[in-house]
């Protein structure tokens, strides 16, 4: 199943099913913080219909970003608006926005949580969102709310399910 021979893949056998389609551009970048935050890698990566992704680690720390599909559709980002650290944001509420080519696109919170850190690199370098949306272009690091399990949150999808919705869109 894991065709890659790189060392780290052997380290995360239980997470293997997440990366069935590791050739997909909407899969999390395994060489960047949202993945490397914990030594086991994220327990779950889920997607929303609004093209956000959320990668959740064992300690309930989660990273949120928007997918490659979305950034390709939006074009070059010129400004990224992010929430204040410490803000508690409920699922479905606005997490911020990305402006690209005169479009302001709202970003929504995939699951209840409190913002712990924002990717300040994007203030000066919004283009990173386009270059590496599934890695360095992460937007927010947060702590999931009490008892939130992204695998049970309604509306969140696996990579496979998400990519199926994209096929339908076309």
């Amino acid at each position: 199943m894991l065709r890659s021979t790189r060392l780290w893949t052997t380290r995360i056998p239980t997470a293997g099913k997440l990366f069935l389609r590791n050739s997909s551009s909407n899969a999390l970048n395994k060489n960047k913080l949202p993945f490397l935050y914990s030594s086991q890698g994220p327990q779950a990566v889920r997607y929303t219909t609004q093209h956000e992704w959320i990668a959740v680690h064992q300690d309930k720390t989660a990273f949120v970003g928007i997918t490659k599909y979305a950034t390709d559709a939006l074009g070059d980002a010129t400004y990224v608006e992010l929430p204040e650290v410490g803000t508690e944001i409920a699922q479905g509420e606005s997490l911020g926005s990305i402006e690209s080519v005169k479009s302001a696109s709202e970003i929504y919170q995939p699951a209840d949580g409190t913002v712990e850190e924002i990717n300040t690199n994007l203030e000066e370098n919004p283009g990173v969102v386009n270059e590496d949306p599934m890695g360095d272009g992460w937007l927010v690091k947060m702590k999931l709310g009490e008892g939130v399990n992204v695998e049970q949150v309604e509306g969140l999808m696996s990579l496979e399910q998400y990519e199926k919705t994209l096929v339908h869109d076309d």
């Binding site: 400004y79 690209s100 479009s103 302001a104």
Partner: protein, 363 residues
């Protein structure tokens, strides 16, 4: 003002054909009352309101906005706060459709004198807020992205709303260009690579977009017979002390503008409405609704108006920036409108706006 709409003197509405140097060609000597009368007559003709077209009530507005399908809606209000809030209301309350038949809406509104900056702009770098005030231009920060534009009664705003899936930034302006050029081929309108409409190299229409909740809108200005001489200098901040800015956020791209000239606001609205009805018709005819800020007002629109009018939204949002004022040997950093870092510590914690208004007291 609306009484005038029905009592405007019966004279032909004619518009000078502006040729590029808009700043020097304009109707001179027209009194405000004549302008208002002209405008009302124009509105009257285009909207075709007479007494047969009723302004819809708040509950009717809610019903049509929350129902599926396609419609055109025209605002009789010239308040930029009402019109942007109305647009926001329609946008938020249009049902999301994931597949198949989408819920298209086309909104028209004309704003009285105002400057409208993009959501993510530093207003101090974009407008001369003193000149705006002195010339009776309102200043608004809109909900969509993009750069700063000026409006007056000679400018028509159109706003096309559709699903996120069907949204393509240049789509609707391509339609507008096709429709207008087929109406008057001599117009020679073209789309530039930023999605704006140009005529002989001059910009006549600027666009901005918003994507949220699975839906998107494209709204744009169309300069038809705006008083361009009045626009002079309003987008050139003349702040004291040679300010040097450093700011993330979105900077406007300066363009030379002109009026289309040969089409009046009324003609534009009726032409685009008619072509839209033909092109976007599925089964039933696409209805046209008229609303205003009295009969059609609701709480949600009112709340959005308050947001747009608020100090917080206008002056205390937008991107972080830093500014250096050499003459005063000041280095200031601002986030959400507040000075959070400065080489003179007594300025920390002040609103940047208040600081600017009293800048002479800091030597």
């Amino acid at each position: 003002m609306y009484e005038n709409m029905f009592t405007a003197p019966k004279k032909d509405f004619s518009i000078p054909q502006d040729e590029g140097k808009s700043a020097t060609t304009k109707k001179t000597g027209t009194s405000l009352q004549e302008d208002i009368n002209d405008f009302n007559k124009d509105l009257h003709n285009f909207y075709n309101i007479g007494f047969s077209r009723q302004v819809i009530s708040a509950s009717q507005l809610e019903d049509v906005v929350k129902s599926k399908g396609r419609f055109i809606i025209k605002s009789l209000s010239t308040s930029p706060y009402f019109n942007l809030a109305l647009e926001n209301y329609i946008f938020k309350n249009t049902p999301r459709v994931k597949k198949g038949f989408d819920n298209c809406r086309l909104l028209f509104y004309i704003n009285d004198k105002c400057a409208v900056i993009g959501k993510n702009q530093n207003l101090w770098q974009e407008v001369d807020h003193i000149k705006l005030k002195n010339n009776n231009f309102e200043l608004l920060r809109r909900f969509s992205g993009g750069g700063t534009v000026l409006h007056d009664l000679g400018n028509v705003n159109y706003s096309y709303l559709t699903s996120r899936e069907n949204f393509e930034t240049k789509f609707f302006n391509k339609m507008i260009i096709k429709w207008l050029n087929s109406f008057k081929p001599e117009l020679g309108l073209e789309l530039n690579d930023r999605g704006d409409i140009i005529q002989n190299g001059f910009k006549i229409s600027g666009s901005a977009y918003k994507i949220a909740g699975g839906k998107a809108y494209h709204h744009a200005t169309m300069l038809l017979n705006a008083d361009l001489e009045n626009f002079d200098g309003l987008l050139e901040p003349s702040l004291p002390g040679n300010m040097e800015w450093e700011s993330s956020g979105v900077h406007s791209v300066k363009s030379k503008i002109k009026n289309v000239g040969v089409i009046t606001p009324g003609q534009f609205i009726s032409l685009v409405s008619e072509r839209f009805q033909k092109t976007f018709k599925v089964d039933d005819n696409i209805p046209v609704y008229i609303c205003d800020e009295f009969k059609s007002m609701n709480h949600e629109i009112e709340n959005a108006m308050h947001t747009l009018q608020s100090n917080k939204w206008k002056y205390l949002s937008g991107p972080k920036f830093s500014v250096r004022i050499r003459e005063k040997d000041l280095k200031i950093k601002v986030e959400k409108g507040m000075i959070y870092d400065c080489n003179r510590s007594e300025l920390i914690g002040l609103e940047f706006k208040g600081f600017l208004e009293n800048i002479d007291s800091y030597t």
